[in-house]
Symmetry: C2
Subunit: 445 residues, 2 copies
């Protein structure tokens, strides 16, 4: 079967003028782009028209489907267990993936987790995992399948055969000002998640000043759009809206976050981190079909922490993926920065805000993040943020600790951390978890 | 001097979000694009953002200036005569350029006319001139200067050294759905016209269904935008809004239009063609400074037709540019199609519309126009349209004559011509000339 000849400029003009393209036109566009018969300059103009005009639901379904079918899938339909993943829009201190994968695996839910790297102010799961000496995230699909069969979870990076259209399109959007589009973001995320052959997916939609999307209405539209795309392909999809108006947990960075994950798997993580982790884990258990009542799901996900099962599973995962399993019992073996600097309160006050973006940018400045996709990250640096909006502090009390390569770098980070914090101002923190979104609508948490 | 480093994606995002770029940013964008350091795919996305967001006046001035300065100019500042050109937005049967250049040259106004080719339903001056056997429009700037010094006018195509940014940008816009943008159209036209070192410019802004822009408000915005750009560079610029809800004159095609031009230079052209020609010619004489009163200007431009001076100058121009000057006295020497077919009225009726677009497309179908820029045109084919909106016709009266390569082609064109005409319907032709626009505003004609 050959595609009909496309007159791409006419398609661009129609989208520009607010008309919808036919599903088969989107299919042909994606095929032509991946095959190289449609050049970058036409796709970037089309993407910009989509930024302004959006996509209709049939267009979005067609685009997502065409992207999904541009490559192979991680084929898991023969597995006996349900297959569930969690996707977060990204944030500062957002380390729940590392807890969730072993937790759900202990509950006979397979987690084929394919993650990304940090960029800008947000961290990335792959960077965190690679802070563990020896840990390899670059697995082939065959290797990943062996890990998944053995442990019930795997944590890895994208592979070349999965969704090549997204890789090519995302690289183009990144340099043409066409990233910020709900339909393009949705198609990008969902084509990659659906390529994992999931039966269920939980979205962690971050809201607030540190989120990728700061407008709460837009966040909800994004959640609902991705839920429709998942459900249309038979993947039970739900979302929680969670706060990213302050960092999640205490540790922000790579090795320091792994240490906090281990603390959490031991049952001792920061309260906010554990609350979001338990909520997401229960949600994953619900969409897996292994539980039907929230209270039951919640009790079971807490139990795998209390029993130490999740910690054991994480230790096994580290070992199977080439990492040093001893870090799980001795986090002192993680890379450690040479300079540690406390940031203390200079007066008695109430903390009213801890803005995640400047904290994230300070970590990038310390060397722990990326401004370009090919930057290298320093796993050892980071910032521990001990205070939360609403918390009273006394003069001399520790607000944060900076782990840096040099005294100078630490001093610069101290200024950024203080600038990120507000004291005695208006206090309006977001609820830690505000809403749950399903195909049936949105309900307050 | 080196340009500051540009972060092009950030510039695209700012324009996308409705913010203005700085003039020096536009300069750097144009330089980078011509130098090849900014790729097509970023420029096409930026152009699409401009389609949606427009440009502020300082942005437009900067973009036009940067395009103008991307290459050399046709340097004419040392000429004693004022230098004036006419630019038309394009239409069907629009042949006034061929009359105007020799007419103004007879009145000591230099006309360094650089024109384009036809595309889509509209014809192009270069195609018409090349219907004259031997006529060369591909002159170097040095050759063009010699013709201009000798005759006071020259009619030619773009040269490689003039406004290379426009050539590259226009080719990209043509295939990325980004042609339809008033600021981008204005910058494209005005950078090319200002490269002719003009002291004055008259714009013929076509209105109505056959115009490139059919919305009258948009036409006026285009006129005012180009006038501001011209005046900002010291080029007196005015515009006439003229009707393109029917073809101009009788002849539509290439050789047939040249024959009508010769008829016009002999004082015998169709009334509507001569009226628009005289109005534009008088306007050119006014912006040249050679006349200050319209009545005086009008009398003088009519006089160069009546005296035969303009015809003589046209004959000289044809000869100097390599064409066969005998066609001027014997238009039978022009290329002539083998099949001529009359289209006649099948009943007594009143013609209420003659839509230019289907007439133009019928000429393209006959081989006399282009759908792609590299199509070849057949100079001999064309359509003579004898009727005008409001004209009563009797059964059997000739409405049009088709000049074609074959009987089949002529029959197909006949169907298109009849489809282009309305009879006994609502009658609302546009005034032939509706408004005059200057830097001081718009006044009814």
């Amino acid at each position: 079967m050959t595609d009909p000849p496309l007159v791409v400029p006419r398609l661009i003009e129609r989208k520009r003028d607010g008309l919808a393209l036919a599903p088969e036109e989107w299919t042909a566009i994606v095929r032509g782009y991946v095959a190289g018969t449609i050049p970058d300059y036409q796709i970037s103009a089309l993407a910009m028209a989509v930024v302004f005009r959006g996509l209709t639901e049939p267009e979005l379904v067609a685009l997502t489907g065409a992207m999904l079918e541009s490559g192979d899938r991680f084929r898991l339909e023969d597995m006996a267990w349900p297959r569930v993943d969690k996707h977060s829009i990204g944030g500062v201190g957002d380390k729940t993936s590392l807890l969730l994968a072993p937790m759900l695996a202990c509950l006979e839910v397979a987690v084929p987790m394919i993650s990304g790297r940090g960029l800008g102010h947000t961290g990335g799961t792959l960077d965190k995992l690679e802070a563990i000496p020896g840990f390899s995230t670059q697995l082939s699909l065959a290797e990943a399948r062996r890990v998944l069969d053995r442990l019930g979870c795997v944590m890895m990076g994208q592979t070349p055969e999965l969704v090549p259209a997204d890789r090519k399109l995302y690289a183009l959007r990144d340099v043409t000002g066409t990233v910020e589009s709900i339909p393009l973001i949705s198609a990008s995320i969902m084509s990659k998640k659906l390529a994992e052959s999931l039966t269920g997916l939980v979205l962690d939609i971050k809201t607030g000043s540190g989120a990728f999307i700061t407008d709460p209405v837009q966040s909800l539209v994004l959640a609902e759009t991705m839920i429709r795309l998942g459900e249309a392909r038979g993947c039970r999809t739900t979302a929680l809206l969670t706060a990213m108006d302050r960092p999640l947990g205490v540790a922000c960075g790579n090795a320091v976050e792994v240490a906090e994950v281990i603390e959490g798997l031991r049952g001792g993580g920061p309260a906010d981190l554990m609350e979001v982790t338990y909520a997401l884990a229960a949600e994953m258990l619900l969409v897996s079909g292994r539980a039907t009542a929230r209270a039951d799901a919640r009790a079971r996900v807490e139990a795998v922490i209390e029993s130490g099962q999740a910690l054991d599973r994480f230790r096994q995962l580290v070992e199977v993926q080439g990492g040093d399993p001893r870090v799980v019992d001795d986090p002192g073996r993680l890379p450690r920065a040479p300079v540690w600097l406390d940031v203390v309160a200079d007066r008695n006050a109430t903390v009213t805000a801890v803005a995640p973006r400047p904290i994230g940018h300070a970590i990038v400045a310390l060397g722990g993040g990326r401004t370009k996709t090919d930057d290298r990250v320093d796993p050892a640096v980071g910032i521990l943020v001990f205070v939360r909006p609403g918390q009273a502090v006394t003069r001399g009390e520790r607000l944060a600790t900076i782990a840096a390569r040099s005294r100078d770098a630490a001093e610069r980070a101290r200024a950024s951390v203080l600038a990120a914090m507000s004291f005695d101002g208006p206090l309006a923190p977001l609820p830690l978890i505000s809403h749950r979104v399903t195909r049936d609508g949105v309900v307050p948490w």
